[in-house]
């Protein structure tokens, strides 16, 4: 089946007085692997269930390939959903579970048998057709749930935290399998998760949600490199905020902070009611050099500030330091290799901050 395009237009949903979705607008393109990323209570699952037809919007419109399905009952939508706990029916075998949707569509027996065989082969469970769900491992149940949904050849595939019930190793493996399967089938897929790593690694585009509002939509790299607000910056990866004030002068905008002093902002920023803002920078963009070595970095155009190491965590690929720099606490990650220098707690160091890595966030 041709992959569908999903469009949400200003969708509002409230339970009593609490608004769960506050005007959601987004477009998922045909064949795209799209993530809804957010903490619990952000409304991401509610939105997914709304697309499946289990929740209904108070206002707004939901279309698939241009046709309005806002009021269509779930059984007429042809939007497949894989549930968080898989929801495999325990009284049916794997084969019966997978055949269910086709039976409801009055597909001929011969074709059902063929399609069931095909999708079970697709997820690598051909030999498990006669098993019961409770005789399968978590990963296998997940595949059955996927096969059951794919069997009806849905226009859109919805995945509700599909990896959350798996252990860490299996999660990474299933994540890759999901991605390659999605690529192979070219099916429009919407994936709900609270795990930013999951979203960044698997999806083409991500909508970051918080408190019923979409904070930002973009590719993983856009979100990571150019977060539009503090929430996105914080939720996608670890980040430092340097608090300060924006000042507008005829020649350009500057940023004044305790830590960095007055520095010029690379781009002209629009005038706002408040001047209070922050510069965000990722922990790995800062370089530590031990005192009293010469401030070489300054010559490379970086801003040097002194700091004192408060705490150290060894994370394998890198060492994470918590550093007090002029009263501002910064997290700094240093790549770790055998023999690379480790700074002890309490030592004074110089931090090199490259201005290019700084992002202004209001």
């Amino acid at each position: 089946m041709k992959p569908g395009q999903v469009e949400c237009k200003n969708i509002v949903l409230a339970y009593g007085a609490t608004q769960v979705l506050k005007g959601i607008t987004l477009t998922v393109k045909p064949g795209e692997f799209f993530a809804l990323l957010g903490p619990s209570g952000s409304g991401k699952s509610t939105l997914l269930r709304l697309i499946a037809g289990f929740n209904f919007a108070q206002s707004g419109q939901l279309t698939v390939d241009g046709s309005d399905i806002t009021q269509t009952p779930p059984w007429q939508r042809n939007i497949g959903m894989v549930f968080q706990n898989y929801a495999l029916w325990p009284h049916m075998t794997v084969e019966r579970n997978v055949a269910f949707g086709l039976e409801e569509r009055k597909t001929s027996r011969a074709e059902i048998a063929m399609r069931v065989k095909d999708v079970l082969a697709l997820v690598g469970l051909t030999d498990f057709a006669q098993r019961r769900p409770n005789q399968l491992s978590g990963g296998q149940q997940q595949r059955v749930a996927l096969a059951r949904t794919l069997a009806i050849e849905p226009k859109v595939l919805l995945l509700d935290e599909p990896l959350s019930n798996l252990d860490a190793k299996l999660r990474v493996q299933m994540r890759q399998e999901l991605k390659s399967l999605q690529r192979r089938l070219g099916i429009t897929t919407i994936f709900v998760t609270h795990d930013q790593e999951e979203a960044l690694t698997t999806c083409d585009r991500i909508a970051v949600m918080d408190q019923g509002v979409i904070q930002q939509i973009g590719t993983p790299m856009e979100l990571y490199d150019s977060p539009v607000n503090r929430f996105v910056a914080n939720f996608v990866g670890t980040i430092n905020f340097i608090e300060g004030d924006v000042e507008h002068t005829p020649t350009g905008s500057t940023f004044l902070s305790d830590l960095l002093g007055k520095i010029a902002l690379p781009a002209i920023t629009p005038d706002r009611a408040t001047t209070r803002a922050a510069l965000a920078l990722r922990p790995h963009t800062i370089n530590i050099i031990a005192e009293p070595s010469s401030p070489t970095g300054a010559s490379r155009g970086s801003i040097n500030v002194p700091g004192n190491i408060l705490e150290r965590e060894f994370l394998g690929e890198f060492v994470r330091y918590r550093i007090n720099a002029n009263g501002t606490e910064l997290i700094v990650d240093q790549l770790h290799q055998v023999g690379s220098e480790i700074h002890a707690t309490g030592t004074n160091v110089i931090l090199e901050i490259p201005p290019k890595a700084l992002r202004l966030i209001w």
Binding site: N78, M81, N85, P133, I152
Partner: protein, 566 residues
């Protein structure tokens, strides 16, 4: 491996042994004795001749088929009553939920044989309904005649077992089960038939098999309705009229036990590996819909009709207890409080006896139930599964069979130092109650203990509490709700027990209320006082249920542990 050589303590082993001894003495030996006499030829060898004789008597054949038909028909009609009610409560947002809950409890607080008397006055040949029908249309419906009457009373009395089990099963279905079916294109009745009902099937089977067993074993209702061509009444009549030596009585007992056991076995077999409620649980319960106007009318109509039917024995018994004369009239002609006076003057002893016997039995049940539950779930004492099996098998032993077993097994044994035969002691009644109700208490205690995480106990031991102290300070307090629920269930069901009572009661002064009611009901003149005693019994049971429910739910909200009254 050395350390694991003995995985239980001496105290645990002693506890298991004393429980085993108790169950052997008062359950296994008496029942096996009954079975033995049914197949013994009197010279020490085994024979099937008694069974041959049984099936040679046409009355016995008739009774056999009648019992079977009544039990099956009662299951059928109870299902017809319960299914729509269960479907309504879980499927729709509607205000009648409380009504349905009430419907589900009301019948259980009145013994069926008490209700039967009142139902005769209302639905019988010259009862209120038929008098009205005769006045208006000149017709009469013989719904209280013979087997029909028994089926009518039993299905109205026992449908709550199906309703409660089915509702719980339906409530335990994860909404994702239904949503995924909708997502794949199923809806409406098809969705119900293919997904919801199969998932609730275990609950239905459990309820239906209970109803079958209860009806098959019931002695009081057929006796009161004067239907004697059924197995339980025949066993009673053979033993009480022909005598304790008559093998036919034992053959009937064996057949009754066999049927109850097979019903239990069959349901266990069907249910094997089908506990769907706990396998996958993550979401909320099934989605509820609003009723349309027509649906509302149908639903309230059905509930209203049922409520009227279910309440009729209660209303009838209250009217009867207050009636001066109630015969061939739609309502009593005049009212009086004399019957209550009679009962309170004549037989306050019976009320005390009921409280004493049932209180003792229920206490014994929860002590045994807690101990067995602990032994099974928390220890590795050998033979613990056998304890569970024995205690649960009591469910399949009809009261009359247990009583016959006692009379036979303890025949000739006297209390040391006196000439009183053991079988005439009132304590035997209490013990019979305890054995009969043990399965309920055990299930309640097991459920309660299963909800207590082992880590809570390990934390106590880690902080220095011994096993015994841990049980006292952590396990028992956390199980309290379940234990209390077990106590109440045992108590109220024992209070309305007739079949064992009727056989084991030897003197008027030792008689509990249920016996008293039955005795009064034997004569037309005694009906008033009998009904008054019945009302008092219902009040005691209802008050007990209410208060324990209050205590349990307030405890539940404090501890977050929920126990339920079965």
């Amino acid at each position: 491996m050395n350390k694991k050589a003995r995985q239980y303590t001496v105290v645990q082993a002693l506890a298991a042994m004393s429980i085993a001894l108790f169950l052997l003495t008062f359950l296994l030996v008496p029942v096996l004795n009954v079975v033995y006499i049914a197949v013994a030829d009197g010279n020490g060898s085994l024979t099937l001749s008694h069974f041959g004789a049984f099936f040679g008597i046409s009355l016995m054949q008739e009774s056999f088929w009648n019992s079977l038909i009544v039990a099956l028909a009662s299951v059928f009609f109870a299902s017809i009553i319960a299914l729509p009610l269960a479907y309504l409560t879980i499927r729709f947002e509607f205000r009648g939920a409380l009504l349905i809950q009430t419907l589900g409890v009301l019948p259980l607080i009145m013994p069926p044989f008490v209700g039967a008397v009142a139902m005769q006055l209302i639905f019988g040949r010259s009862g209120s309904v038929n008098l009205l029908l005769n006045d208006w249309f000149g017709i009469a419906i013989p719904m209280m005649e013979g087997l029909t009457g028994v089926i009518f009373v039993e299905s109205l009395h026992y449908f709550p077992f199906i309703l409660l089990n089915l509702t719980v099963a339906l409530n335990n279905i994860d909404s994702a089960m239904e949503e995924s079916a909708q997502n794949l294109g199923a809806h409406g009745l098809r969705l119900f038939r293919r997904i919801v009902f199969p998932l609730a099937m275990p609950g239905y089977i459990a309820g239906a098999s209970l109803v079958f067993i209860k009806v098959f074993d019931d002695l009081g209702t057929p006796l009161v309705l004067n239907v004697t061509n059924m197995l339980a009444p025949q066993a009673y009549l053979r033993i009480t009229s022909v005598g304790l030596e008559d093998p036919i009585g034992y053959v009937i007992s064996v057949i009754m036990v066999a049927f109850s056991l097979s019903a239990l076995w069959l349901s266990a077999r069907v249910l094997k590996g089908k506990d769907y409620s706990t396998t996958q649980r993550g979401g909320s319960s099934l989605m509820r819909r609003r009723l349309t106007l027509v649906q509302s009318l149908l639903a309230y109509g059905w509930i209203g009709l049922l409520l009227l039917l279910v309440l009729s024995p209660h209303i009838g018994i209250v009217l009867l207890s207050l009636a001066k004369v109630w015969s061939f009239s739609i309502l009593p002609d005049a009212f009086t409080l004399d019957h209550y006076r009679t009962v309170l003057v004549d037989s306050p002893r019976m009320i005390v006896n009921t409280l004493l016997y049932c209180g003792l039995a229920a206490l014994l049940d929860v002590v045994l139930g807690t101990a067995i539950a602990y032994l099974i779930l928390r220890t590795r004492v050998p033979g613990r599964q056998a304890l569970d099996f024995m205690a649960s098998a009591a469910l399949a032993i009809p009261g009359i069979v247990l009583a016959i077993g006692y009379l036979r097994t303890f025949k000739g044994i006297t209390l040391p130092g006196t000439n009183d035969p053991v079988t005439t002691l009132w304590i035997m009644i209490a013990i019979a109650y305890a054995i009969r109700r043990l399965p309920y208490a055990l299930r309640s205690c097991m459920a309660a203990l299963q909800q207590v995480s082992v880590s809570l106990e390990e934390a106590a031991e880690n902080l220095g509490a011994t096993k015994a102290r841990t049980i006292r300070r952590i396990v028992i307090p956390l199980m309290a709700g379940g234990i209390l629920a077990g106590f109440v269930t045992s108590f109220i069901t024992a209070a309305v027990e007739l079949s064992a009572t009727i056989m084991l009661t030897t003197t008027q002064s030792d008689a509990p209320m249920s016996y008293g009611i039955y005795l009064y009901m034997q004569s037309i003149a005694g009906r008033g006082p009998g009904a008054a005693l019945g009302v008092l019994a219902v009040i005691i049971v209802a008050v007990g249920t209410y208060f324990s429910h209050r205590i349990i739910s307030s405890r539940a909200s404090q501890t977050g542990i929920h126990a339920k009254l079965e």
